[in-house]
Amino acid sequence: MTAISLETEGLSRHFGALTAVNRVDFKLAAGARHALIGPNGAGKTTFINLLTGVLMPTRGRVLLAGRDITARAQAERVKLGIARTFQINRLFRGLSALENVCISVAERVGAAPSMFYPAGRRADVIEESMHLLETLKLGDAARHRVSELPYGRQRLVELAIAIGLRPQVLLLDEPAAGVPSAETHIILDAIERLPEQIAVLIIEHDMDVVFRFARRVTVMVGGAVFAEGTPREIEANPQVRSVYLGQAAELAAHG
């Protein structure tokens, strides 16, 4: 029986009369490569926000390695081992790529609250951040302000910040979104090289990415789990095809 890293029980979130997430029971196994797909507005990002603590659920529970973290704030959950990337980059735009990652690493190792010695003396933080950047082929970009980097590389910095937290669970919200197609492979290579032990949940629209990367797929429609299985099973599922893949195929045909 594989260990479960992250799971939800009957998780729901209402916004007034609108039900964005509807009684979702979800399990993310340790070391998983799990994709979450669904039409726009299906509640996927809301679901991630519930998992990370950006939003509080109206009902239901979130459990991390068996522990109930439903009441915990976002920052606490990060300390417990959940990290995420955002659909639209949330970087420290005026700072260099290295500084961006250093902030994240410094937070993790507990250096951040220190007030009376220079950050430059924390060679461990700087070295680890450089190492991480190099692993993501961002070594030559380390010095540059992230606002000056091309979008694809910014997206990689976003990923680096999350990885720098050495999470147990990594939630990626459309990591290739907005990246020019010539650069997407960099991101996908990086995701593929993630350590085995990390459980990864990735929201994606691109079915090629899902097939390449995911071992399990959950389909979300209207805030509820519509189907779940391996990529092959999902692809073959006629209901899913009509609800989601059908739409995509139509778009592809006319687009």
């Binding site: 970087l91 500084e99 007030m115 060679a123 680890e128 450089m130 692993t135 380390a142 999470p167 147990q168």
Partner: protein, 346 residues
């Protein structure tokens, strides 16, 4: 709990630390030669313009006040029009103690002023920093106005609108007395306090804590998402900022031997904000540049043509907001980068 990445080996680690980006970070806090310039200028001013030492003292105190605001605004991104609340708290702490004959030793009074201002900063920060935007701005203004009203109401102790004149300040170390006619002691005293305070702020800014403040300013949501206890950091920063503003206020009371309600005025809070932005916020030396530029201009223009000064200041602010919100140092940095690029291309 945390998953390890591939272990690093020694020579590779050293190579990474030698990378230009890493070296830049390691060296960020080193003192640069030009950092001595403002202090050399301050000392030179002492010898070159003995008749203007009162102005010089005012300038030094304003720099300290602007520096305190820079911590809150420039590094943590807390937009406040109420920072005079802490300046005034420090000023009145010193003033009340001295006027009523309770305590006149200057250095310990300053420490006390810092502590009282820090207490108010902590209490108000704890409560106010839950809000943001206009609500926060309003609350900072109201807190300051509240303190001003309280000082006004307690006029039996505070002298109300007229304030507390002729504050008795004991000589520093028992030897150096304040002479109201010759501001030598005041100037050097203020310079020393400014130097110590500046070194403190500089250390703070280059520390990991300071770096996290910059993170909060640059992207608040991301800081939450890397596990930073944001509110705690903001409250600490605000408290320290308040303490320094209190020191500035205490200095002001001591060197002028006078304190009144203007220490808590919206006008004062707005002016220090303008000064910091004029010089460039988030850049440590913006306070120096802004204060010098503003006070020099005001000294020469405002006395002679007050209305023209106000008009010019208004136009300047509009121009800064539209074109140059990084202030003088920001423009300087931009030119430096462009010059650097042109040199690299040539």
């Amino acid at each position: 709990m945390n998953v390890a990445l591939a272990p690093a080996d020694e020579p590779a680690a050293a190579a990474r630390l030698a990378h230009p980006a890493a070296r830049a970070l390691i060296r960020r806090h080193y003192f640069r030669w030009w950092e001595a310039l403002p202090w050399a200028a301050a000392i030179g001013f002492y010898f070159a313009f003995p008749a203007y030492l009162a102005f010089g003292t005012e300038l030094l105190i304003t720099v300290l006040f602007a520096l305190s605001l820079d911590l809150a605004l420039g590094y943590a991104g807390i937009i406040t029009l109420g920072h005079a609340a802490f300046f005034g708290t420090g000023a009145y702490a010193v003033g009340l103690l001295a006027f009523h004959g309770v305590w006149t030793e200057p250095i310990t009074s300053l420490v006390l002023a810092a502590m009282v201002a820090a207490a108010i900063g902590f209490a108000s920060g704890l409560v106010l920093l839950r809000t943001r935007g206009l609500t926060l701005l309003m609350l900072t203004i109201c807190t300051m106005a509240l303190l001003q009203e309280a000082a006004n109401m307690a006029h039996d102790y505070t002298g109300g609108f007229d304030g507390l004149p002729n504050l008795p300040i004991a000589p520093i170390f028992g030897a150096f007395a304040f002479n109201p006619l010759y501001d030598n002691t005041q100037y050097l005293y203020a310079l020393a306090v400014l130097l110590i305070s500046f070194l403190f702020v500089r250390t703070l800014v280059y520390s990991p804590f300071g770096q996290s403040l910059t993170g909060i300013r640059e992207n608040l949501l991301r800081m939450h998402a890397v596990g930073a206890p944001v509110r705690r950091r903001l409250v600490i920063c605000y408290t320290i900022s308040a303490a320094l503003a209190g020191v500035a206020g205490g200095l002001w009371a001591q060197t002028n031997a006078y304190v009144n309600l203007s220490a808590l005025d919206l006008d004062r809070a707005a002016t220090v904000l303008i000064i910091l932005i004029l010089g460039g916020y988030g850049r440590l030396y913006g306070a120096f540049v802004g204060a010098a530029a503003y006070l020099a201009l005001e000294h020469f223009l405002a006395r002679v043509y007050p209305t023209a000064w106000q008009l010019g200041l208004g136009l300047l602010l509009v121009a800064i907001a539209l074109f140059a919100h990084n202030g003088i140092l920001g423009i300087g940095a931009m030119l430096w980068r462009r010059y650097g690029r042109r040199r690299a291309a040539a």
